[in-house]
């Protein structure tokens, strides 16, 4: 049986360390070495202070759901409908678009606390995803 491939990341050169950290299940984001601002997607300079110096730092993996949608139409073979997507505000600042795994909230998903997990797609690709943070509720 054919396995639908997970859509590949768009090839951004500054993102390579991000995807490497995902593969190692040890998510790291780029952080400005001067003002401390986290950057996602990664980039060549700091939009806040213009610094060209950056480090890669492990994030807490904690965040809050900003919004969510349910696809009722299949656009990508790896994601047959119905398929949900969430926007998470990481505690470090950036917004990540991802998916919620495990139990779903009743009613509105907005403001639910979530924590990072890693899931392996049928084709072997590892993705950072989230699950409800039951410890927080």
């Amino acid at each position: 049986m054919d396995i639908a491939p997970t859509p590949a990341p768009v090839p951004l050169v500054h993102d390579i360390p991000f995807w490497d950290s995902v593969k190692q299940k040890d998510l790291k984001l780029q952080r400005c070495a001067d003002c401390g601002q986290f950057r996602y997607p990664a980039g060549p300079i700091c939009a806040e202070c213009n610094s060209e110096q950056a480090t890669w730092e492990r994030v807490s993996g904690k965040g809050t759901i900003l919004s969510w949608v349910v696809f009722h139409k299949t656009y990508l073979p790896a994601y047959p409908a119905p398929h949900t997507v969430i926007a998470v505000r990481l505690d470090e600042g950036p917004i990540m678009i991802s998916n919620l795994e495990g139990p779903e909230p009743e009613g509105s998903w907005i403001d639910e606390r979530v924590s990072l997990r890693y899931s392996t797609m049928p084709d072997g690709v590892v993705l950072p995803r989230f699950e409800l943070d039951r410890a927080a509720s």
Binding site: T6, P7, A8, P9, V10, Y40, P41, A47, L66, S67, W68, V69, V70, F71, H72, K73, Y75, L76, A78, Y79, H83, V85, A87, P94, I95, M96, I97, S98, N99, S108, I110, V125, L127, R129
Partner: protein
Amino acid sequence: MARTPRATAIIGIGQTDWSGDWRRVRNGEKPADSVGYAAQAFQDALRDSGIPKSDIDGLIVGPTTAYERMGEVLGLNVRWGGQADAVQAILQAQMAIESGYAKVIALVYGNDQRSAGTQYGGPSAMGGQSFLSYVYHSPWGMTSQGALYALTLRRYQHERGLSEADMGQVAVAQRAWATMNDAAIQRKPITVDDYLQSRYVCEPLHVFDYCLVNDGGVALIIADAEYAERMRPDPVYILGTGRSDLNTGATSLEPRLTDYYLPAQQQAGTASYEMAGIGPDDMDVMLAYDSFSVHVPLALEGYGYCDVGGVAQFLTEKGIGPGGALPVNTHGGHLSESYMQGWNHQLEAVRQLRGEAGSRQIPGAQTVHYTSDVAGKCMSVIYGR
């Protein structure tokens, strides 16, 4: 140098037969390619203007056709030209004319998106790489422009209290206008119940919240005011323009999810109001770019037609459909008339101001406001007689 109201005016408008194009394409025909649709619309606009083609010294083509090929097909060797989307083309024409680079500019747009099977979502989403937010999150299955607006709407509904039935009023109003427009592709009236019972594409967006995808063309001729007044008795003037963008956090959707583009809309709106010397209370017709219905409530708040957070009440108590306090997208917009990527709205502005809008005409319309909010670029254009 300050921008001058009434320095430029539209003197010609043209289009293809959108509903006919729609029927032919559904029957499996391929009546034209994008250049062909644009050329047909140009011929129509040139006839409407009554000017000789040799007076045209500027050409702006839509992003869906190649500039050089378009100029070759139309036989236009101009001293100023370029490629731009609808609202940027208007602003560029205004700038070029005001600064003396051209006197009479043809703006032409053609699109065979339906017959060519253009994808606005999925692995080959059109133009996605140039708007990183359209493709960046595809590993998680986030694709399609509609899904971005669905994500925005869900949070907006939560924060500002816009119910699904409130939201349905946008599509219902625009369809009601379209029933009075022979050029509109979808003319069957719908109710809020029809809306609520219709299928979701990307929840919370229903199928009626999505623009049509169809083939067709649009053209405009914009000239400096002195020439415009010499050539025809009813030029439609550009009274005011404004632009402001939000780019910080664009890929991860920050301006859409937390600001709903509001600060940029307010700045663009204010700039255009100051230039025109009028404000939202003075507008006879409001036309909002509406690839998805979500644009409309955001624009009504952002451009000052109602209080921030007050759009649900505005839609219900004032109304944007026929008989409502503020006529919005009187041609049916992208949801019901035709998805000409903002170009068809400019034609409706001209028709309303010339008094040529048939049974949907707003009596004595003197001012029309066009707003566009795409990928963080907020723009405001005020037209008047």
